[in-house]
Amino acid sequence: MKTADNVALCVRNFSKHYGDGCAYCMDEDAVLDRNICPECGTIHACSDISFDLHKGEILGIVGESGSGKSTLMKMLYFDQEASSGEYHLADFLDGDRDVLKLSSRQKRQIRNEILGMVYQNPVYGLKMEFSAISNIAEKLIASGSRNVGDMTATGDHFLGKVNIPLNRKYEPPVNFSGGMQQRVQIAKALSNYPPVLLLDEVTTGLDLSVQADVLELIKEIQRELGISMIVVSHDLAIIRMLCDRTMVMLDGSVIESGITDQILEDPQHAYTQQLVYSIL
């Protein structure tokens, strides 16, 4: 399989289960207790997820806690290993190879060079004791840069872009507010211009004005650099503002997907309807 021309990232039949599974729950038509197998207790955190991310597009993923959104993101970033499925990236050998089958060293290379990740909690994405500028350099070093001058120039550029005053670039993020930490994390993820950016609940826990800043920044970056993004959120307002297309997840499966406006204005699945109306 090869990715189509306009597709940046393509996922087929992605699954993740915790536990060995049994003959009952491995069957496609098995009825599970939410996402837990009643026979063997295996948790199916993600089951049979397929989608394409188009170039320059922002794809939203919504769903309640425990629906498998973050697990999906972690599998895309190789933080967790998928139990089964196929995963192609247009920027790795023209999407010719299933990247799940690569060695851990090649996966690491893809993480460093093709993907960018912004975690909900900046602790996972940043080295809190190293200066902000070094944090950005870490991504650049990992993707092969060995020139301090170039790296500090790039670091300054992106810190400027996310509105971190440059006189604080030598400070470690542990001294920063939550919003600033999140912005440093975004700057780091962007610093080597990755073609695909993964954003996992980036604004959760930030106050409203900071949230607006961060969203504005994401939108601007996407327009300017044409980076493809996957945005996970449980906040429908954010999804409505940012995303071209949206997938709704429940108990590890995608229950509905389509153009964001369509999903929010005319939800088909009972759960999506409940989700949309509970916010209004």
């Binding site: 851990s104 060293r105 690491r108 460093n112 080295k127 190293f130 200066s131 500028i133 070094s134 350099a137 870490e138 070093i141 990992a142 060995r146 020139n147 301090v148 001058g149 790296m151 500090t152 030598y170």
Partner: protein
């Protein structure tokens, strides 16, 4: 009580030699070994001592140095333990020795093909300052993911304007593994490369053996615009011998309060001074 030859029992020595062979086969890779109890405390050279004890034969000629000195308490005690249990000849002349155990220095005289240099290592893991977990650092080595080691150097440049690691400056061995060269001064880093003799490194407390076989490429990590530099002793002269350009200790004359320099490798200094027509 009759002591076994070279203190350790034969099975222990065999295990250490087997691990040493593995270390030589994979230059720079840290091979775990079962570090034995010795009559000196862990962290006082037990890694180096176990290597020496397992390698020493009756025909060997031994030299033990501690920070360049053959006569410091540590060197004397280790030498006496080895001699008491083996009866081998000892020497202070680097050229005469077949087995050299050293703490924190590589002798000024280049190694000969018949020589093994054993270095004592307190902290064998170059990635430990950025990653506390052994399981993860092992994975990072496997993936050749060394941005952590580079990041430390970058952070030093950001904070202090230049790299401040004066000893234990990380090196890349054979283009593959990043290695802690033990706390030898930066000045000795170039001496690791392309030797005629074998260099073995042992960490007793951390239970690791690693090696730099003869004629291996060893490069000190450096950024393109911040090249690696050794300490320069070109404009200072040894007060005792008049030598220049060798690694020197900076000392203060307690009567005059004056700063003076003295060659650190004392046996080298003595050899030079005994040469006919020596500088002083």
């Amino acid at each position: 009580m009759r002591q076994n030859y070279a203190f350790l029992d034969e099975n222990s020595k065999k295990e250490i030699r087997r691990k040493t062979l593995k270390a030589i086969s994979i230059p720079g890779y840290q091979v775990p070994f079962a570090s034995r109890e010795l009559p000196i405390a862990r962290g006082w050279g037990t890694g180096g001592l176990q290597l020496t004890l397992s390698l020493i034969g009756q025909a060997d000629i031994l030299k033990v140095i501690d920070q360049g000195s053959d006569e410091s308490v540590n060197a004397v005690n280790i030498r006496r333990l080895i001699q008491d249990t083996t009866g081998v000849t000892d020497t202070i002349h680097t050229d005469e020795a077949t087995l050299i155990q050293s703490r924190h220095r590589i002798p000024e005289v280049p190694l000969k093909p018949y020589q093994i240099l054993v270095l004592q290592v307190p902290l064998p893991e170059p990635l430990r300052p950025v990653e506390p977990s052994e399981r993860i650092t092992k994975q990072l080595h496997a993936d050749k993911e060394y941005s952590g080691a580079w990041l430390r150097l970058f952070e030093q440049i950001m904070r202090y304007g230049s790299i401040t690691d004066d000893a234990d400056y990380p090196v890349l061995v054979g283009g593959r593994y990043v290695m802690a060269p033990s706390p030898i001064p930066r000045f000795d880093n170039p001496k690791l490369e392309g030797n005629d003799g074998l260099i073995l490194l042992g960490a007793g407390r951390e239970k690791k053996i690693y090696a730099v076989p003869p004629y291996t490429t060893v490069t000190s990590l450096a950024f393109l615009d911040h090249p690696f530099e050794v300490e320069s002793f070109d404009d200072v002269t040894c007060r005792e011998s008049g030598l220049t350009g060798v690694y020197m200790d900076e000392l203060i004359d307690e009567t005059t309060g004056e700063t003076y320099y003295m060659t650190n490798d004392t046996s080298y200094m003595i050899e030079e001074m005994n040469k006919e027509g020596s500088v002083k």
